[in-house]
Amino acid sequence: LESDAKEPIYVDSDTATYDDQKGIAIYTGNVHSVQGSLVTDSDQMTVYLNQGKIDKIFGVGNPVHIVQTQEEGKGTIDATSLKAEYYPNEHRLILIDNAIVLQSGNIYKSDRIEYDTQNSVAVAGESTSSKKRVHTIIGPKSSDPAAQPAPAPAPATSPAKKR
């Protein structure tokens, strides 16, 4: 949901390490984090802080599992990957390695899927490298008019801008 971005992020885990010098917090073991409707489960999550603000959150799991409620009536988006990078200030979530996104009945697979958590738009693959091929399964048009499939992901025109 659009409002997710303003919500605090709550994290639960077995253990954690805060490294004051590097300004990072590493949560390890059954890591469950919630930001509004954006829910993530992973094996380890690292929070990078810069001057008290969150720069990036990096998750690793087998797999990392992410669920988010889309706008009203559009159901949820369900994603998994081996790694995930989240830039909360840019509402950008990058799924890396065996990335699979299930959105409104469609399935997108690639080694890299970039997802805009504010507008629920997924961009799969990377134009500069053919390795990141995209495999899409468009679900059948359901008879129920209300369940309109979300627009197919825009093809990646330029590589994801690194911060």
Partner: protein, 189 residues
Amino acid sequence: MRLREVPISLFAGLIGLSLVSWWLAELMTPPPEETKADLEHSIDYYAKDFIRTEMKADGTPKSRLFAVAMGHYLDNNVSEMEKPVMLFFNPGVPPWVVRANTGTISGDGNEIFLGGKAWLSREPFGSDKGLDAYSKNVTVHMDKSYLESTEFTEILNHPHYTSGTGMHTDFSDGMQINLLSDVRGRYEF
């Protein structure tokens, strides 16, 4: 002579005599000797505004221990402190400060126990907002450069918050706080 005919003054005299003799007996008996343990569990030296600084090989301070009062006990070779404050110095950042109400130093000086609530803090610097952590009954292992507690511990790196049960903090290079179980974190925007 029947009891009624014995004059009252005789009775009074007898009572007075017994009181005086009891008093004299009390007076003469020496005070109970202090037992051996009482004698030994006493302070053999003490200091006010006690300061102990540990230096690095390059001559810069590594840590400093300060206490309002410190008393060393002969029998167990332990020093007890009042309001101990510990400082851990790191290059480029303000020192970490650990405060507690009471504390003890082991005989070899390597183990310092900070009793009750312990407050760890580091001042803000530059754009960094500083950090506070609260725990209880913290043991500092000076020779191995870490401190630990089995109690609930909170870290406030403003405006964020993390808590857990059990803490192991390594201060050999900077400060790495490990929370050992039941970790909860909250990050604000």
